[in-house]
Structures are given as structure tokens and as C-alpha cells.
């Protein structure tokens, strides 16, 4: 259960060191301008992050979408958006992922918001392996990037409405899973500033607990209920070792 406990930077815990961390808001590149991309761009902007947004191809094609749906974000070519980003958020449908060049994301912190959900998206050979979580497979392919899994288990349509300030009694929790503690911390900060309690999971393998079918998938839960639901799943998950 290590790593699934309380976030160490909870409400009221911000000391001088934490304040320094709080002041850093790395440029965030959102890849994808479909259902999720513009919403992610909007909430990241509202949380004070500079945001670039890119789709496949010419940024002129998403200029109007960006202006209207995420004013303040910069529509750019994907390579440019990634180049100066501290955090890259993948907001593309999973079946487009195999087309994404891993070299584009080399050396970057990559947030994987995608899900493998065959009933809706069809069976995909790359992801059709029950031994691994979809983000583990994403990490394997993006071998030179650092992958963190989050935001996959909240509907894009809820992401904006469900935000609450830190300490609000009805604040919703989101899981943040990754193998690299510094990367997980940076993404947990983003999640917290956007308006959710970040519940950290200490590996991408543990991130399987956030996948479709999990009791936290698509369900609004506060930190305590969220942690408890994960613990229950963890203990009854006979497939994990």
C-alpha cells in the first residue's frame, strides 16, 4: 500500500519549501484537440499553467477551436509544443497512439490520460495484453519518456464542473500513478491546482487500479473513499503479484 496514502502536500501543509514548488508551473503541452484536449487546456490555464495545444498537423486547423474553447492557449505544431513543455498531456484516442512517434516525446514527462476500452474503441493489438496496464504499455513504447497515469478515470465532461478549491468538503480525488516520484509529484501538483485531491500511486503497475472496470473509474469520490476503494480492489485483485 506504500504510496497510496495521503498526499504529503495537503491543505494547510504548505511550508516555505512547498511554496517554492508551488510557484513552478511548467509549460504544459496538450496533444489532441478532440473531446478532451480543449477541456484539459482550459483547466490547466485556469490553474495558472502556460498551455500549448497541438493536433496532428497544421495548427491553423485548430486555431478557431483554441480561440473559442481554450482562449489563452497557443495552437502549435506538435513538435514545437512539446519542445519547450515541462509536462506533455496525451489527450488522443488510444487507437491513434501507435501512430505517435516516440522520438517526439523523448526526455519528456508524459501524462497518459488514455484508456484501453475494447467495447467502445475496438480491440487493439498493442494493448490487448491483460498482464499489463495500458499505461505500462505506453511507457514501454515511450521508453525515453517518463509516463504518469492520471485523468483517465474522470469524464472529460466532468473535469471542469467538478473542480473545487483545496479543502472543500466535496473535493473529488484523482489517482496519479507513476514510477518516477519527482514526475508523480509534478503531476500531482497540477491535479491539485486544477482542483482535485491527488492520490498518489507509486508505480504505473499500480495504475492498473485506475483502469476501466475499477470501482474508482468514472465515480466521483472524495480522498478517503477513493483511497479505501483502491485498497479494497488491491486486496481482492488476484491477478496482481
Amino acid at each position: 500500500m506504500a504510496g497510496m496514502g495521503d498526499d504529503d502536500r495537503g491543505a494547510g501543509a504548505a511550508g516555505p519549501a512547498a511554496t517554492t514548488i508551488l510557484s513552478s508551473r511548467p509549460r504544459t503541452a496538450v496533444l489532441g484537440a478532440g473531446h478532451t484536449g480543449p477541456v484539459l487546456a482550459r483547466v490547466a490555464l485556469a490553474a495558472g499553467y502556460p498551455v500549448s495545444i497541438a493536433a496532428s498537423g497544421d495548427p491553423a486547423k485548430i486555431a478557431l477551436i483554441t480561440d473559442v474553447l481554450a482562449p489563452g492557449a497557443q495552437a502549435r505544431w506538435a513538435a514545437d509544443a512539446v519542445a519547450d513543455a515541462g509536462i506533455v498531456v496525451l489527450a488522443i484516442p488510444l487507437h491513434r497512439f501507435p501512430d505517435l512517434d516516440p522520438a517526439l516525446l523523448a526526455g519528456k514527462l508524459v501524462v497518459d490520460t488514455m484508456n484501453y476500452w475494447p467495447p467502445v474503441d475496438g480491440v487493439q493489438a498493442m494493448f490487448d495484453d491483460p498482464a499489463y496496464g495500458s499505461s505500462e504499455i505506453v511507457q514501454r513504447r515511450l521508453a525515453r519518456s517518463t509516463v504518469v497515469k492520471t485523468l483517465n478515470h474522470i469524464g472529460y465532461h466532468e473535469l471542469e464542473d467538478d473542480r473545487r478549491p483545496a479543502g472543500a468538503p466535496d473535493r473529488r480525488a484523482l489517482g496519479v500513478a507513476g514510477d518516477d516520484p519527482a514526475a508523480v509529484r509534478a503531476v500531482a501538483d497540477l491535479i491539485d491546482r486544477v482542483g482535485y485531491d491527488a492520490v498518489r500511486l507509486d508505480s504505473l503497475r499500480a495504475g492498473r487500479l485506475l483502469q476501466p472496470g475499477s470501482p474508482v473509474f468514472g465515480v466521483p469520490l472524495g480522498r478517503t473513499e477513493f483511497t479505501r476503494a483502491l485498497a479494497r480492489t488491491h486486496h481482492t485483485d488476484r491477478g496482481s503479484s
Partner: protein, 356 residues
């Protein structure tokens, strides 16, 4: 925290107010709460369409589905039967799953409906939230975007009338092809249903489709930016504005309480059944009440409650049309007939009054 990028209402629509009903053909239950047959469900829908006209509903739409719970796979045939017994009500799909259909056949079926009904046909094209038609007709879900893009483009060409020349990757090309029957009085109205993808909004604007916002959960206000996007895209293209509609689920009964008590258990059960394959959370009473409230997507209540909610949301979304998706698997045909009657005789006049 603030929500939408800017909360100002979209500019008011210059189109006439249209208040319609949609059904997905949910199988109804008999007095002993047993599901009736598919055939009976379909015959009942014809009666529901006929009643909709009698009580003053402007539009009646049928959404294509292919499952045991929703057996309406050939909506146009049912619409043809309703057309034969009505004179005024407009009839259409809500939605036609264009990606797994042939645009030429869709055009032929709905231009035939247009002929049968004396010019009352419409289509709403989209994916819907179900995907059953993809494996059924041998399509790969991974090709969804490409299928829809190409077919929406081809359908836009077909709608114009006249010989069509078209080439794509998902269907055989057409060369100077005359597609019949020709429509009597120009293209019938065609919409694209959008559930949250801004690229679909741009596509609708580009191919001259009206925009139908499918709002089935969460705050309707979050769709207002899509209406602005649609208007601005039309302006950028140098084209005239097109109508915007809203499609949302609902149920009307004599009182708020009765409507909720009839609807909630059925709604919960239907979502519970599809939750596993669709990734929805099963609604709780609390989440249901949120959806029924002013900031939710469900229009469930007394005629006054439902009318007020429609009248509040249409201007907010710059929309001139509302289609209430009535019915929910397990409700009785009688409850649906009663909901249709209340919608036509009480909700529609009240919305018109509130918006005049």
C-alpha cells in the same frame, strides 16, 4: 472557480422555435412489468408518433440502435408508417449512425421518406453513444473518424441533388452518379449530432449541416462554447448561420415527484446494464437529482418544471430547437403516451409563452 471561457449567452437564434420528441425505441413493459415483444414495441412507437402530431409536437425522431433493449434498427420504415397517418409533424432520425451505413442508401431512404411524407423528412447524423452497428456491419471502430469524415462529406454532396462525383477511401467512388429519388423541394434538413468533440462542430459548419448538441449528462451550459464555435466557424467560412438544436433525455408526468419516481428506477437500471460496456458510472439518487436540477441534463418533472428548464437553456445555448428524448427501458407504453400528451399540450405552449 469559473467554468466556461466566457459565460455570455450565444447570440439569439433567428430561426423558428421547434419543439420535438426523440425516441430510441426502448422496449416497454406490460402491466406485469414484463418486456413486450420487439414487434409490439415498434407498433407502439407508430402510435406514439401519431399522438405526437395530435398534441402539437413539431418533430418526431427515432434513434437507430441494434440491441435487444433497443430494437429500432430500421427507423425510416417506422417513420414511413407514421408519415402515412400524419400530415404536419416533421419526421427524422435521431441519430442515423452514418459511419456504419452507406450515405447513398441513407440519402435514398430519407428522400423516399421525404416523398412519402410530403416534404417532412430530416436526418441527424452521428455516432450516438452506442457502437453496436460497427461489428454488426463489419466496420472497425478504429476507423470511426475517417469513416464519419468521408461519409459526412459524401452525404453533403448527395443532399444537394444532381449528379454526384466523389472519391474517398472508405467507399467506392461515384462518377456523375444520379441518385434517386430526387427531392421535390430542395435538400431536406440535415444535422450533425455532437456529443463533445469540437472537430465535429467544425465539420458540421464546413459541410453545411445544422448542429444538434446531444447533452445527456452534466451541465448544459458547458455546451455554450460549442454554439459560439459553430457560429464563428460559419462566419469564417463566409456562410450563412444555421440552426442549433439540443437533444436531451426527459420524462414528463403530472407532478415532479411522479415523473421522478417513474423515471429514476428505469434510468438507473438501464444505465446499470450499459455501464459495464460503456464505462458510465451507475447513477445514484443524488447524482440523478443533480441531473434533474437546473444544472443537469435531464428534463424530468411536471410540465412547468420541464418547460422552465427548456426555456432557460435554449437561449443560453443559442439554440432554437429542443428535442426531448422520451422513454426509458421498462416504462409502460401508457406512461409514454401520457408523457407525450403532457409534452404537447402543456410543455410546448408554456415554452413558447416563456420565450415569446
Amino acid at each position: 472557480m469559473t467554468s466556461a471561457p466566457s459565460a455570455d449567452p450565444v447570440r439569439p437564434a433567428a430561426f423558428p422555435l421547434v419543439l420535438g420528441l426523440d425516441t430510441f425505441g426502448d422496449v416497454t413493459h406490460d402491466a406485469d412489468d414484463r418486456p413486450v415483444s420487439h414487434a409490439r414495441t415498434i407498433r407502439d412507437i407508430v402510435e406514439q408518433g401519431v399522438l405526437a402530431e395530435q398534441v402539437g409536437v413539431d418533430f418526431f425522431g427515432i434513434g437507430e440502435h441494434h440491441t435487444d433493449d433497443f430494437p429500432l434498427s430500421a427507423a425510416d420504415v417506422v417513420l414511413g408508417a407514421i408519415a402515412a397517418r400524419t400530415r404536419r409533424i416533421r419526421l427524422g432520425s435521431a441519430v442515423t449512425v452514418l459511419s456504419s451505413d452507406d450515405p447513398v442508401r441513407v440519402f435514398q431512404r430519407y428522400s423516399t421518406l421525404d416523398a412519402v411524407s410530403g416534404g417532412r423528412a430530416e436526418v441527424i447524423l452521428g455516432r450516438g453513444s452506442s457502437v453496436d452497428s460497427f461489428p454488426l456491419f463489419g466496420y472497425d471502430l478504429a476507423d470511426y473518424e475517417q469513416l464519419f469524415e468521408e461519409k459526412a462529406q459524401l452525404f453533403a454532396e448527395l443532399r444537394k441533388g444532381g449528379p454526384v462525383t466523389w472519391k474517398g477511401t472508405m467507399r467506392a467512388p461515384l462518377h456523375e452518379q444520379d441518385v434517386v429519388p430526387h427531392t421535390e423541394s430542395g435538400p431536406f434538413p440535415a444535422w450533425i449530432g455532437v456529443g463533445g468533440n469540437p472537430q465535429s462542430v467544425i465539420r458540421a459548419a464546413r459541410y453545411d449541416y445544422a448542429l444538434m448538441l446531444a447533452i445527456i449528462g452534466g451541465s448544459p451550459a458547458r455546451f455554450a462554447p460549442f454554439s459560439r464555435l459553430f457560429h464563428q466557424a460559419r462566419t469564417q467560412l463566409g456562410r450563412d448561420p444555421l440552426p442549433i438544436g439540443v437533444h436531451s433525455p426527459g420524462h414528463v408526468a403530472a407532478t415532479d415527484e411522479q415523473a421522478r419516481e417513474e423515471f429514476f428506477p428505469r434510468y438507473q437500471e438501464v444505465i446499470r446494464r450499459v455501464a459495464r460496456t460503456r464505462g458510465f458510472a451507475v447513477p445514484t439518487r443524488e447524482s440523478f437529482l443533480r441531473e434533474v436540477g437546473p444544472h443537469g441534463a435531464l428534463y424530468v418533472g411536471s410540465p412547468e418544471t420541464v418547460a422552465r428548464k427548456i426555456a432557460a437553456n435554449l437561449p443560453l445555448l443559442g439554440a432554437n430547437r429542443f428535442e426531448m428524448k422520451y422513454g426509458m427501458g421498462g416504462l409502460s407504453h401508457g406512461a409514454l403516451m401520457s408523457a407525450i400528451e403532457l409534452y404537447g399540450t402543456r410543455v410546448i405552449p408554456r415554452v413558447r409563452e416563456l420565450l415569446s
